[in-house]
Structure formats: structure tokens, C-alpha cells
């Protein structure tokens, strides 16, 4: 190592550096960052992803939460206490999600956590909730095991999002009906190569075959998550000549895929089932949205076709100048449930709210029948709007949605749980 003598640093510069160092060391441990608010307010902490490739998850979750919080606060808050949100970025790293969640509770004095993390981050926050016993609402993780697996179960954690297995059951039964009607026997799949893509596709195929047993999967493609070029995948599918294609690509991946597959006129050669199509993140970004893609509803303001849902979608658009996402309704639901449970318990105490949440049924713009329910046995959301339809290139994008049947969902879900050894 060379040790050439550099011209000395001035005393002033040194002092400035030392000063900066002292300040940065002192701040986190010094006086609490946010001035301790009066007991009148209640703080809710929210770790989420606000940077990187999926920052939209965090921003659209935050927007929806703030939209609902305004309403709740205007109506008097949680049992008379005004809600103050503390929202922080976890960068999509589970260890950061855990750290941020602990910090929110231990240092910022948050009494409730809205966990707007995706996949592994949600499990990390779940462990924090288990450790600290704080009331926690998972709003974005759709991994079935989070609530279905009894090993994960803790009395203070709830999920207000859809669940993978529900989607697969409805998607599978819808596709089977179409397959029978149109004689679609040869299928291909094309999904992102990570847990969500693999699991969702496997479950979808299981239910598809259950409802239409003579179906055959003749080609599988697993592009990488965030892959920029799909030419290879598209040509592989075209060469296999399937009659139908299933995909659970989402967001930017789905839109790039469609744009590139359009060049090969893929959509005129087979029926395409893309579960994540009917979300404004994809619908509004695709250059030429092909007609007739089958999609599950993620969030569209026209399904459920109720004035309440349309009003909610428009209010969101008016405030943020963009349409809500699937994540938005899931987060809004968390706040709606919180407010209702607090009213029922007449308290802002986490334990009492948790007690009130179990089995709570509320009116909701996102409900299949105008209500959603927090199922008591596994503390997850049921009864939300879930259905499939086909696209058209302009608004309302998916004009007719065929609703999924919750009775069938419950039956098959119970069976699925048994097969997994959960019950």
C-alpha cells in the first residue's frame, strides 16, 4: 500500500466531517425522531417496498391507505384517536423489512402494523409480529401458506389480500369451461421462474385438469423475473402449436411479453389466459392490447359492477391521477376492516381489535356480494370479488366478468388444505 503524503486537510474541513459524523451518530439514539404525539393519536406502521423494480407495489398501497385513513380520521379515527401513518421503505429485503417493522413498533411507538410487503418480506414481518405480539395486517402477500399453514398461525396476524389457491380454483374452473366449449386440448404455460410463478401455475393446471381431465400440457416456458426479451419464449410457444396458453406473468413483464408476442401475431393463433391482465398496471401500459385475452380480475373499477366500486376507483384516480392497482384494494380493505373492528370493540387496543376482527363481515366495494369477511378460523379475507373475463382494447377493458363461485372455492379449498396436511 502506498502511503504518499497528501496535502493536509484543513482544520475546518476536519471539524465539519467530525460534526457531520456526530450528528449522524446522535440522531437515531437521541430524542425520538417524530415528536411524541399526544395520546389522542394512534400510530400505524407500514413497512413496504418504495424503491426498485416493484416500487409501484408500495406507492399504490400507500395511496390507498392514505385515501381510507382520511375518511376514518374525518369520522373520528379509531375509537376517537386520530390515526397517524408511519410508512417506511424496506427496499424489498426481508432483513430490512424485519428491522423496519421492529423499529416502527419499538421506537416510533406504532401500535398496529400494516404489512404491505411482498412474498418473503411478509414472512419476515410475520415473525416480528409473533415476537412482539403487535396486531399485524398482511395486505399484499397472496402466498396461501401464510394463513393456511397452522404453523404460521398467530392470533394477532390477519391477511386482507386475495389468496393464491382461491385464484387457481376460479381460474381453473373458468378455463375448463372454455376449453370444453371450444375443444382446447393442447395447452402451453409461460410463467416467471420463481416461487409465485411455479406454484400458481402448478395449482392452476391441477384445477384445470380436475375440471377438464383430457387436457394436455405440451410446452412449458419459465422466463426469468424481469426478463427484457421474450423472443425465444414466444417462438418456442409458437413452434409447439398449442391451442391455449396460460401465463401468470405480471406488471412490466406481462406488458413486455404482450408487446413482443404481438409482433408474431401470437394472440390470433391461440386462446390466451393471463391471470394478471385485468389490472390497470398492465391494461394501460400495453401498446396494442389484443382483444379476447382471458384474465382474472385484479382490480378494475367496473367489477364488481357497483356504483360503490366505480366511485372508489374514480376517487382514487382523482386524487392520484392514476388508477388503483390490485394492491390498492387489498390495502384499502385493511383500513376499512380496522375501522369497523375498532368501532365494534369500541377501542383502539390491538388485542380487542383482533378479537373483533375474527369473523367480521363488512360492507365493501370489493366484495363479491357487496361484503367481505375476515374468516375466523384462519384469519384471512374471503368473499372478495373474483372472476374472469375477456379484454377489449379500450376502457372498460374487461366489459364482462364471469363471477367465481365462493361455494365451490370453499369446498375445494378445504380439500386442498387437507391434501397439504394443514387440517
Amino acid at each position: 500500500m502506498t502511503r504518499t503524503r497528501k496535502p493536509g486537510v484543513s482544520r475546518r474541513a476536519t471539524l465539519a466531517i467530525m460534526g457531520a459524523g456526530a450528528v449522524s451518530i446522535a440522531t437515531p439514539f437521541g430524542t425520538p425522531w417524530v415528536a411524541r404525539a399526544q395520546a389522542k393519536t394512534i400510530k400505524i406502521g407500514m413497512p413496504t417496498i418504495l424503491s426498485g423494480r416493484v416500487a409501484q407495489l408500495g406507492t399504490s398501497s400507500r395511496n390507498a391507505v392514505m385515501l381510507e385513513i382520511e375518511k376514518v380520521n374525518a369520522a373520528g379515527g379509531l375509537a376517537g384517536r386520530t390515526i397517524e401513518m408511519v410508512i417506511r421503505d424496506s427496499k424489498g429485503q426481508p432483513q430490512e423489512a424485519a428491522r423496519v417493522a421492529r423499529e416502527l413498533v419499538n421506537t416510533d411507538g406504532c401500535e398496529i402494523l400494516i404489512d404491505a410487503e411482498a412474498s418473503s418480506g411478509a414472512f419476515a414481518v410475520h415473525e416480528v409480529a409473533r415476537d412482539l405480539g403487535v396486531l399485524c395486517l398482511h395486505t399484499n402477500s397472496e402466498t396461501s401458506a401464510l394463513t393456511a399453514d397452522p404453523k404460521q398461525h398467530i392470533p394477532n396476524a390477519f391477511r386482507t389480500a386475495r389468496q393464491g389457491v382461491h385464484d387457481s380454483i376460479v381460474g381453473g374452473s373458468y378455463a375448463a369451461t372454455i376449453a370444453k366449449a371450444k375443444g382446447l386440448k393442447k395447452w402451453a404455460t409461460c410463467s416467471p421462474d420463481y416461487a409465485y410463478g411455479r406454484d400458481t401455475t402448478a395449482e392452476y393446471v391441477t384445477y384445470l385438469k380436475r375440471f377438464a381431465p383430457d387436457i394436455e400440457i405440451i410446452s412449458e416456458s419459465w422466463p426469468k423475473l424481469f426478463q427484457p426479451d421474450y423472443t425465444e419464449v414466444v417462438t418456442k410457444i409458437l413452434q409447439a402449436r398449442p391451442q391455449a396458453l396460460y401465463s401468470c406473468l405480471w406488471g412490466g413483464d406481462l406488458t413486455s411479453y404482450i408487446d413482443q408476442a404481438n409482433i408474431y401475431a401470437l394472440f390470433s393463433q391461440m386462446e390466451v389466459f393471463a391471470v394478471n391482465m385485468a389490472d390497470y398496471t398492465a391494461l394501460t401500459v400495453v401498446k396494442n392490447l389484443p382483444k379476447g385475452i382471458h384474465s382474472g380480475n385484479r382490480y378494475i373499477k367496473t367489477y364488481p359492477a357497483t356504483p360503490e366500486n366505480a366511485a372508489w376507483g374514480d376517487a382514487y384516480k382523482a386524487k392520484y391521477n392514476e388508477y388503483p392497482t390490485n394492491w390498492s384494494w387489498e390495502n384499502a380493505t385493511a383500513i376499512m376492516l380496522l375501522a369497523e373492528a375498532s368501532k365494534k370493540a369500541n377501542s383502539a387496543d390491538g388485542k380487542k381489535i383482533a378479537e373483533a376482527l375474527r369473523g367480521l363481515k363488512i360492507k365493501s366495494p370489493f366484495g363479491a356480494d357487496g361484503t367481505v369477511t375476515m374468516r375466523a378460523e384462519d384469519q384471512t379475507l374471503v368473499g372478495y370479488a373474483i372472476g374472469w373475463g375477456t379484454t377489449i382494447p379500450q376502457e372498460p377493458y374487461v366489459p364482462q366478468v364471469q363471477a367465481g363461485d365462493w361455494k365451490t372455492i370453499f369446498e375445494l379449498e378445504a380439500e386442498w388444505k387437507k391434501s397439504k396436511g394443514y387440517t
Binding site: 439514539f29 432483513q95 423496519v100 421492529r102 412474498s119 409473533r130 416461487a195
Partner: protein, 340 residues
């Protein structure tokens, strides 16, 4: 290692009296630091502080062990994070699947790391500079991919779920945050003490010689490959200990722990703190974590802020903070000497 150390120790000209007092002094300092850290919760009741120190212990052990390779031996490893991940997964899986007592799982995890590091090291340390860097990176990605695809064992990209059970042992209950804090401090201090002993031993000086001129080292009869492999394995053990602390902190293990970004963070910490002093990486760790935590609180654009800080250190100072402080101190002392 001991054999090698003993061999070279015998050859060393300076006889051990001075070394012995230095060792005693180090041990005393380590003990004092541990007592100080252990007393901290009695003075400050902040749970944030405890979390912070636990994370410092995890990253500090990891970064300091990386410096044994980068700073002392000149082996720029881009894949050191794999041992961090290995420690976290090894320990987490052992506790979840077998239910053995914590110390047994701890030792067993280190044993696994030892074997894996021995195999990977044997292949890698023959290579020079950029080739070494890239092959270590390749192995890291291999381990990362294995974690992702071996879903039945590791839970794939959802990580090890369901929490890590930690039955109390010898009156220590690691699910109690205070106990975990004290245990982490102990592991950190012992780890740093051992690494310092390694760095100051004749073996440590052999490493410096290899760094500066490997050909010369081999000409005077040093088995360069063996020395490099020894330090590679030792560094892996300390990194793995860091991973174990992290797994205990988050009560889980996630593929991100074995991803290249962790290795990158390690290198960044070393740049921040400086590689020419033993405590540089530890200072870098504290600095980075403080920066990360405060910047995340203030803005969503933390990437931008951290980037500017890296630029400041890389282009502005051209060295780590500790290098800068040490040089500044030396310069000042010389300056005073001249004046007198």
C-alpha cells in the same frame, strides 16, 4: 492453522514476551468492550439501540472477516456473502428440523461451513485477482440458486418460514431480546479478538507478505496455496457466525442473505471504513448501518444518498474513514514533532 502458525512462530526472530503482553492487552480490551456493551442496556433503554448493535455484530463479523481476505491477503472475494447465507440457513434449518440445542446447532453450522469453504476455497484460491473474484461470485450464485430451487428444504424464494425455535440453554434464552443482544455482543467481541490475533500472528504477517509479493513468499518456502486456503476457510467461519446472528435476529433465513448484494455490501463497508486498519470494517459497518437507518427514515431516495456517499469516499477521500483518521493522526503527530 495451528500447525502452520506454530511452525512459523518458531521461526520468528522476535521472542514471545512482547507478543504475550500484547495478547494480554488485547484480551483485556476485548473484555472491557464486552462489559461496556453488556452494560449499555442498563443505561439506555432504547430497543432500537439493541437491534442496532445486534445487526452491527452480524454485519461487523462478516465485513471484518472479508477484510482478512481483501485487506490482509489481497484476495478480493465477490462471493463472501455465500458463507453469511450458509450460516443463516445452516443454523435455521438445524434448529427447525432437528431441534438440537442452540450450541450444538452453532458448532454444527460452523462445521458445515468449514467443509464447504474448504472445497470452494481449494478450487478458488489458486486463481488470481479478477479470476478469483469471478469464480467466488460464481460459487455464490450457485449456492443462491440452490437455495431458490431446493424448495422442499429451503422454502425457495419465500425463505425459511415459521420462525426459528430457540430453546433456552444454560439459562440463556435467545428469544429474549436482551439475551440475544448480550450473546451477539459476546460473539462479536470474541470474533473480533480472534481475528485480531490471526492478523497479528506470524501467520497474519505471512498473509501480508503474500499480498505484497506472492512469488517472493513462495521462494522463501511458504506454501502460498495452503496459507490462502487457511485464511479463506477461517474468514468463512466468521462470516457464517455473522449469518447465524442475522438468522436469530430476523428469526428466519432468506435467499437475499446469500445473494451477491450482501457480498457487495461487505465490499462497500470495507471501502467506507478502510482496509488498512483492523477496525476499519467495523467502523464502516457502524457507519453504513447508521446511514442506512437514518436515510431510510428521511427519504425514499436512499439509493441516491448512499451513492453520493460512496462517490465521496471513492473519489473524494480515496480511502476509508479509518485510513483517513489514522493518516491524519500520524500527520498531526509528525507536524507537532517538527514544531518542537
Amino acid at each position: 492453522m495451528t500447525e502452520l502458525q506454530a511452525e512459523q512462530g518458531a521461526q520468528a526472530l522476535e521472542v514471545s514476551h512482547e507478543a504475550k503482553t500484547r495478547r494480554n492487552r488485547d484480551a483485556l480490551i476485548a473484555l472491557a468492550v464486552f462489559v461496556l456493551l453488556a452494560l449499555l442496556p442498563a443505561v439506555f433503554s432504547s430497543k432500537l439501540l439493541l437491534d442496532f448493535v445486534i445487526r452491527c455484530a452480524a454485519y461487523g463479523l462478516f465485513a471484518t472477516s472479508l477484510n482478512l481476505l481483501v485487506g490482509y491477503t489481497g484476495l478480493i472475494s465477490f462471493g463472501h456473502g455465500m458463507f453469511f447465507g450458509l450460516g443463516a440457513y445452516g443454523f435455521g434449518l438445524m434448529m427447525q428440523k432437528t431441534g438440537v440445542p442452540v450450541p450444538v446447532a452453532f458448532v454444527a453450522t460452523l462445521a458445515i461451513t468449514f467443509v464447504v469453504a474448504l472445497v470452494i476455497g481449494a478450487i478458488c484460491v489458486r486463481l488470481k485477482e479478477i479470476y478469483f473474484a469471478f469464480v467466488t461470485l460464481a460459487f455464490q450464485m450457485l449456492i443462491h440458486s440452490t437455495i431458490l430451487s431446493w424448495v422442499s428444504l429451503t422454502g425457495g424464494d419465500q425463505g425459511l418460514r415459521g420462525g426459528i425455535p430457540r430453546p433456552p440453554f444454560l439459562g440463556i434464552d435467545l428469544s429474549n431480546q436482551l439475551h440475544l443482544y448480550v450473546a451477539s455482543c459476546a460473539l462479536l467481541v470474541i470474533g473480533l479478538f480472534l481475528m485480531h490475533r490471526i492478523a497479528q500472528s506470524p501467520f497474519g504477517y505471512t498473509l501480508r507478505m503474500i499480498r505484497d509479493n506472492a512469488t517472493r513468499a513462495s521462494f522463501i518456502g511458504i506454501d502460498v496455496w495452503r496459507a490462502k486456503l487457511t485464511i479463506f476457510v477461517l474468514a468463512a467461519l466468521f462470516a457464517s457466525t455473522g449469518g447465524i446472528i442475522m438468522a436469530l435476529f430476523v428469526s428466519g433465513a432468506y435467499p437475499e442473505f446469500a445473494y451477491w448484494t450482501i457480498s457487495g455490501e461487505g465490499i462497500f463497508i470495507n471501502m467506507l471504513g478502510g482496509v488498512t486498519t483492523f477496525l476499519g470494517p467495523m467502523v464502516g459497518t457502524v457507519l453504513l448501518l447508521i446511514l442506512n437507518d437514518t436515510v431510510t427514515r428521511l427519504t425514499d431516495y436512499h439509493g441516491l444518498v448512499l451513492g453520493i456517499v460512496i462517490l465521496f469516499f471513492a473519489i473524494g477521500l480515496r480511502k476509508g474513514l479509518m485510513d483517513f483518521v489514522v493518516e491524519w493522526y500520524a500527520q498531526r503527530r509528525n507536524g507537532d514533532g517538527e514544531r518542537r
